[in-house]
């Protein structure tokens, strides 16, 4: 097992390096940088830019140096926990993003837990009651959940909550807690607000998960050992939970790897619609204004979250399935 963990961690490092290179390339692809856009914008509106300050910042962050040096500077900063400087906010990035990254993580994790809690019983029910009316209804609902763009679901929910419940549900907590330090009340307020984005973001993932669990469990239930167990008079519940369910769970856990990027994507767009204080809206604006350190660090953070998620799911899978942890040591 230790072998496997070390192996996995060693793989993670080149992955993260590659990701950082990709991100850095992408945010440097557009012509010019933040300052050229900024100066052009100011000149467009007839204002004068503070050229001295801009020149200082350009020097400080090495915009005149070759790209690979800029890259090393950025990555070196990241390793020290310094995420660079946001030019549009005129603040260090970690000050700007502060809570946002934490909230993104909180929303993502809650969404995944929600997905599991909902998908698990429904998937089992749907598989054990294959081709029943309720199975058809659940399957159709699942497809509908997959097909509806999450931002639209958010809009419609916002609308109905507004019209019929008379509450405003933008944001992640009561406005009075914004900018305050974390306290118990703030956490409670967060809990009261978080369920709508979680519902919206989780719908697609939940639907996919239900379908996968149903398919896996159906495959497993057709196998002969299940038939034998039934024929020998094992209680149906036991004949379901003892072996087939455990086999069907494997993909359930390995799916975190694909679920997490999906959830984070969902967070990004839903938060724009619902004006949640997560990373989405800020990422959007930073990409549009070429605020490269802000955008780059955001993207890096999201990718990091995903890589960690995949790592955790691999570990869980290895704990669950001895074939994986034994094979990993031998391979390569």
């Amino acid at each position: 097992m230790l072998n496997y963990i070390i192996h996995r961690i060693l793989i993670m490092i080149p992955t993260l390096v590659a990701i950082s290179i990709v991100i850095f390339t992408i945010i440097n692809l557009p012509p010019g940088n933040y300052f050229t856009t900024y100066i052009a914008e100011l000149q467009g509106s007839g204002e004068k830019a503070d050229l001295a300050k801009i020149e200082f910042l350009e020097n400080e962050y090495g915009f005149d140096r070759p790209l690979w040096q800029q890259y090393l500077y950025w990555v070196g900063g990241l390793l020290h926990g310094d995420m660079g400087y946001s030019f549009s906010y005129d603040m260090p990035v970690d000050k700007v993003v502060g809570d946002r990254m934490l909230l993104t993580a909180v929303v993502s994790v809650t969404t995944i837990i929600f997905t599991y809690l909902v998908a698990f019983p429904i998937g089992i029910y749907s598989a054990t009651h294959q081709y029943s009316i309720s199975d058809y209804i659940l399957t159709f609902l699942g497809f509908l959940g997959l097909a509806t763009p999450s931002f639209l679901l958010a809009l419609v929910l916002l609308y109905f909550a507004n019209v019929y419940l008379g509450i405003s549900i933008g944001g992640l907590m009561d406005p009075k807690y914004l900018g305050r330090s974390w306290s118990w009340d703030k956490v409670l307020s967060l809990m009261a607000h978080i369920w709508i984005p979680v519902l919206v973001i989780g719908s697609a993932g939940t639907a996919a998960m239900i379908r996968r669990l149903r398919a896996n469990l159906l495959d497993e239930l057709q196998k002969q050992y299940v038939v034998t167990a039934r024929a020998k008079g094992l209680h149906p519940v036991r004949a379901l939970f003892k072996y087939p369910l455990r086999m069907a769970l494997n993909p359930f856990i390995s799916d975190i790897g694909s679920l997490l990027p999906q959830v984070i994507s969902g967070t990004a767009i839903v938060s724009v619609v619902m004006s949640l204080p997560t990373t989405g809206p800020m990422l959007l604006s930073s990409l549009q204004s070429q605020d490269m350190y802000l955008a780059g660090s955001f993207l890096m953070f999201m990718a990091f979250l995903t890589v960690i998620g995949v790592f955790v799911s691999d570990l869980a899978l290895a704990l669950l399935d001895p074939r994986i942890r034994l094979q990993a040591g031998r391979r390569q």
Partner: protein
């Protein structure tokens, strides 16, 4: 062969009464035993056994009724895309400045209890000065029969051939806003029909891109194995461990503002396709890894076929149906991706129209509350995505007809 005979177990099993010689309770055929009956086939069976793989896929798909229905819907949608100028009652940019944010006009076919030709009701319009809101009320006396196969707004078919024939047009001097109008008084129905052109083709072009990439890269990795395989595997892991939407956002944010909408459109499809190929590549790779150990592949190698020929001629055809099925299942993701990007203002840009562009008008909760018909394009999105999902599902089941 199961229809031949039921072979009785040895008489005198544990439960039987050894003394009784009553006739056996089951049926025994009295026909003389014919050892070749197993090999003889009815014409129907014969047809089944010599059918090509594609024919069997088709048979199996036909039995999947939901998939067939979805396929028909998709066919109709894509057919509509090719002739959208004719289908739309108005031009894509025709503005009706007197009818800004006009609500949908339902089609009536009964007039005073009698069945009549379909008609809509004209609007009475007044400006509520207190709320500064335009108020349209249907006037039951303004009956406007819908015209069919008529001459209306001029257009250029596919941007080349001028024409003005429409399937439906408003009555002379009347209006036909089946889904209402937007903030510039443009007919939403017409814009949705035009928007389908971009939204539905984005998925096709994107899938073509990812199919090409997936087959090429997955094929090389799966066929050569070794270092090539390890490297591509890692590269795919890197791409897959990225949240798609932020990456799409970042990539489409770098498309220069100066590009024409058409170039941006191709840029977007390229971006959508470039990230999604990993799933296909993975499938191709694992299939190839298994297939290259087969005898027919070894035979081809021994006869001196080159890798490109072996992959293209011998290996790929063995799982083309699987590839097509998984490609079909990828299209909905791309349609949703385009919608999301355009909704955020990063995707297709006006004057080009797509469903996402139309939906970006409904970004604001107030708009949704006041003019809910602006959400109509989403039904089209859901319908298309659902149809692709069901069709792809049926195709996937049918892809392995020997199962």
């Amino acid at each position: 062969m199961s229809d031949l005979t039921f072979i009785p177990g040895p008489p005198g099993g544990p439960g039987d009464d050894p003394g009784a010689m009553a006739p056996l309770p089951h049926y025994v055929s009295t026909a003389p035993y014919d050892p070749y009956a197993v090999e003889r086939m009815t014409p129907a069976q014969e047809r089944f056994y010599v059918a090509s793989q594609w024919r069997m896929v088709w048979w199996k798909l036909k039995r999947h009724r939901v998939a067939v229905a979805a396929g028909v819907i998709l066919l109709a949608m894509y057919l509509g895309v090719t002739i959208c100028e004719f289908l739309a009652p108005y031009g894509v940019d025709s503005r009706n400045t007197d009818f800004i944010y006009a609500p949908p006009q339902p089609v009536h076919i009964f007039y005073q209890g009698r069945l009549v030709a379909p008609y809509v009701l004209g609007f009475d319009y007044w400006l509520d000065m207190k709320r500064l809101q335009r108020i349209f009320t249907p006037n039951p006396h303004k009956r406007q029969p819908i015209r069919f196969f008529c001459h209306g707004d001029a257009y250029k078919f596919w941007g080349f051939f001028p024409g003005n024939l429409h399937l439906v047009c408003p009555a002379p001097g009347g209006q036909l806003f089946l889904l209402g109008t937007d903030r510039l008084g443009r007919d939403l129905m017409s814009r949705m029909i035009y928007g389908a052109r971009v939204s539905l083709t984005v998925g096709l072009v994107g899938v073509a891109v990812s199919l090409t990439l997936g087959i090429a890269i997955g094929g090389i990795a799966g066929y050569y194995g070794g270092w090539t395989d390890i490297l591509t595997q890692r590269a795919m892991e890197v791409i897959q461990s990225f949240p798609h939407l932020p990456l799409w956002m970042a990539l489409s944010a770098i498309l220069p503002v100066s590009w024409s909408p058409l170039v941006v459109y191709f840029g977007i499809t390229l971006i959508l396709g470039m990230i999604d190929w990993t799933h296909l590549a993975r499938a191709v790779r694992s299939k190839l890894l298994a297939l290259r150990e087969e005898d027919f592949c070894t035979a081809a190698v021994l006869m001196g076929a080159r890798p490109a020929r072996i992959i293209g001629r011998h290996l790929l055809p063995s799982f083309t149906s699987h590839l097509i099925a998984s490609a079909t299942l990828m299209i909905p993701g791309m349609i949703l991706g385009e919608t999301a990007l355009s909704f955020l203002g990063l995707g297709v840009r006006p004057p080009m129209t797509s469903w996402g562009v139309l939906l970006s008008d409904a970004q604001n909760i107030n708009v949704v509350a006041l003019y809910p018909w602006l959400l109509a394009p989403v039904t089209a999105v859901i319908l298309a995505v659902l149809a692709f999902n069901f069709f792809g599902d049926g195709l996937r089941d049918a892809a392995d007809p020997y199962h």
